[in-house]
Point group: C2
Chain length 509, copies 2
């Protein structure tokens, strides 16, 4: 009897161990491929129902390839500028809740808001995200890379971080759960894309934006996007060899300013007669696209592509300001405005998800989704539960069944800050704005004037026809929803200098 | 029968899996605690048979504690300068074989040798260690962190790296097998130890020696040695939580120049009446020692100290040049000379090994050992076999049985380079020297003049009594051994400008 029991125990433990092992082996690898400042139109892959003029300008064959092998989201959103989106990405918290509503300076306690005549300085979280430390004016939350790492994922960050300024924990991706960090720090753009300029690290000339960690490539004629790709592949080889599940956050510095030519690609854009700045910009886009292709090829060559989910996303809309070539309000056409704005040009993002073992190829997903959704989605993909609140929802059901229409829910864009004084505000939706996407509707709230605008995106993706007067009922309903949501999340509103009173929420008008 | 076979198979696999698992769990953790430019006398822990005057100057209570809990090596050696030692450490190859015989510049293809009237520039490996890339003038070898990583160790580098210049693979510890790299790059010393100076990263003032990765500490009044310690603890927490074996390479920038006060400790040295530079130096030493204590405390608190082997070591002797306070040839007394020299002051190192589960407490090991030995030792500790040649031997037997006298073997120090023109050469053993330790004997070969010196270290640790004339037989025997060993390793010798002939090996005189 003892012997039988012994054998039974062995059999039992063998079975348990084996199924556990299988479960562990089966955990999907996860890649977030995040582009900086890329607009929805900065690609040859159309994210609207028809091919737009800008789609003909750009060459992104690898985005096309990825979409063919996966799912294209045509109503994906982020916040109007980068740090808010990046913090929402890894915490699952909407910018209205994190109070990280503007980009963070590389310098601690430094407010990047411009001064304003009407409003007092906002008490926003200028020190970004800090997962553990008690840092003043920062949001404290557990980022999912930490949860993934604790669950046995090999977590890699390559590229732009920009989660917090120097002098805070958030400056270093290592503190956010990444085991490997290549080139991520407090800086929000590269000092240079060129290895000949050491990506900014010229002795005595280095500024806070000099890109770290790439000493190996100095003087090797390696464009920054390529160096990051090579580093990502090198980093991926380790968990693949160790048969550990991995999470890769490859966050390109491209296509952020300084707009510099990626000489591997720029000539054909010059030849096409583009303005020189726009030709360089297009080369930045194509260099980033090559990186996407190289990584897909690498994962396939390593035999891990089938069980790897890749999420392609940008952190805000395309830049539409004076550093670009050509006229303002043309760079995301037919979307209105661009980076910094709550109009579609500032928040509508190119998003593609590829996961051969779970997502049908060549599918289009029309559900409105927002950056906040990636936190619960990624955790569900990894099989990790967390008690941490999130403002997003897991996209897993809609990844598997894109034909199912998600219930309408408030997607909130909140920017109670002054981004720039270099541009007209009202026509471009820049400085002191909130917005709501709900179903087909888009509500715009201009805090400076307490004005509301209403657009029907099913008919008017250019937000040209303000329906607020024509449809006061819907306007009021959406203002109520936006106000209620902002209130629940403890959103900040700018305070009038004259009265020292906060701007009312849109349902208090 | 089938069933029985099935059960047998299960039993077999269960047993296999379980013993494998046990073996994996039992793998010891490994810490190399490497100090920069620390001499054997820079401590209150005596490494000679009696307490020396300098032992009374310094306060290193944690080195004393470590020695009480482990084993003190009183005849441990490294090369006279840092990069050669660091390359030997992780490759197991002696400097005479690697041709990395001088410190590497942060700049690629840059020769740090001083110009000389007698000798042509040496074709040494100015680009350091490069594990994979075909880089001109670099040594290609597999460093043990890579072998440890591939075998499932969580490999961490914190602090000074200095394995290769910018523009080469060796610049980034990541390429050498480290999964985590904090603050290691091509630089060989810190631009500053102060967080108020951002460890050198002041915008527009950063040089190649600005310490990377520590943005979190800027402006927090955290001395560099402390920041590295905090980072090491943070990094260690991850494999400990994941129950993975770890390798930590904590390589302090201390106590290298710039000699800056660690204000946590400096006052008592001022109060003791020390020269201000020496007081600052002593504070650098004590700040490093605090780090050692903090790490030992941390490992104990985490319950992993018993199965963790910690190897304390320095990379060359204490600096004895003009940046120090006081007269030359006093800083490693009674050892002669200091950093850069093949006399004991330049190569005799403080070494302690603590491993409670395998090494008896409070033991002294008198066997002569050299930095080359750590490669085979560490691999044996980790249970890893490699076909890679090594010039060292595993110290495992002598760690377990210090009473056993190792067979005499040639320990070689080879420096066919010109380190400095700021100092007298001959009395200090600097520029164009080779040396051999064999048993109690020390042979010195001055290449410039083809002179040999012989010392009996059992009676003359200060190398004051040259026995070459009195004992020509032993001198010839050792010259033959040194010559043979250098020849076998393909060592480089300087070439005379006048004749374009290489200096003869010591057995060709």
């Amino acid at each position: 009897m003892k012997q039988i029991l012994f054998i039974f125990i062995l059999v039992y433990f063998s079975a348990t161990a084996s199924s556990q092992e299988k479960a562990i082996q089966a955990r999907p690898n996860i890649v977030v491929f995040l582009v900086d400042d890329m607009g929805s139109m900065d690609t040859s892959l159309p994210f609207c129902d028809s091919v737009m003029p800008l789609n003909k300008r750009y060459h992104t064959p690898n985005m096309e390839r990825m979409a063919k092998a996966g799912m294209k989201f045509v109503n994906a959103y982020a916040q109007p500028v980068c740090t808010p989106t990046r913090v929402s990405l890894i915490t699952g918290l909407n910018a209205s809740r994190t109070h990280v509503t503007n980009w963070t300076s590389p310098q601690k306690n430094s407010d990047t808001d411009e001064k304003d005549n009407q409003f007092l300085p906002l008490n926003w979280n200028i020190n970004g995200l800090n997962p553990e430390a008690d840092t003043e004016r920062s949001v404290r939350a557990t980022p999912y890379p930490k949860l993934l790492r604790d669950a046995g994922y090999y977590t890699i960050h390559v590229g732009k971080a920009h989660w917090g300024p120097m002098g805070t924990q958030g400056a270093n991706p290592y503190n956010l759960g990444f085991m490997v960090n290549i080139a991520g720090h407090a800086g929000g753009h590269p000092q240079s894309y060129l290895s000949e300029q050491r990506y900014g690290n010229m002795p005595g000339k280095a500024q806070a934006q000099a890109v770290p960690d790439l000493e190996e490539y100095y003087g090797t004629d390696t464009f920054l996007s390529e160096a990051l790709t090579l580093e990502a592949k090198k980093a991926l080889a380790i968990p693949i060899a160790r048969k550990e599940p991995f999470y890769l956050n490859i966050a390109h510095y491209a296509v952020h300013t300084p707009i510099m030519a990626d000489k591997r690609f720029v000539q054909k854009y010059y030849d096409a007669g583009l303005d020189s700045t726009e030709a360089k910009y297009a080369s930045l886009v194509e260099g980033m696209d090559k990186s996407l292709g190289d990584l897909m090829d690498f994962l396939k060559a390593k035999g891990v592509d089938k069980n790897t989910i890749i999420i392609f996303m940008s952190d805000n809309g395309g830049l539409d300001a004076h550093q670009r070539g050509g006229a303002v309000n043309t760079h995301n056409y037919p979307f209105k405005s661009g980076k910094g704005s709550v109009y579609e040009g500032g928040i509508h993002e190119p998003m593609i998800v590829k996961w051969p073992s779970a997502i049908a190829a060549n599918t289009v997903n029309r559900n409105p989704v927002i950056i906040d959704d990636l936190f619960p989605t990624i955790l569900e993909v990894a099989g990790i539960k967390t008690a941490q609140k999130t403002d997003g929802i897991s996209l897993m059901p809609t990844l598997k069944h894109p034909e199912i229409k998600l219930q309408d829910r408030p997607l909130v864009f909140h920017y109670p800050n002054k981004w720039t004084s270099l541009t007209d505000e009202a026509p471009l939706g820049i400085n002191y704005y909130s917005a709501l996407r709900f179903g087909k509707w888009k509500l715009i709230y201009r805090m400076r004037t307490r004005e509301l605008e209403l657009y029907d995106l099913s008919k008017d993706i250019g937000e040209q026809h303000n329906l607020a007067s024509a449809n006061p009922t819907e306007t009021k309903k959406l203002a109520s929803l936006l106000g209620k949501t902002l209130r629940e999340r403890g959103a900040q509103m700018p305070v009038e200098k004259s009265t020292e009173k906060a701007v009312p929420l849109p349902d208090e008008l």
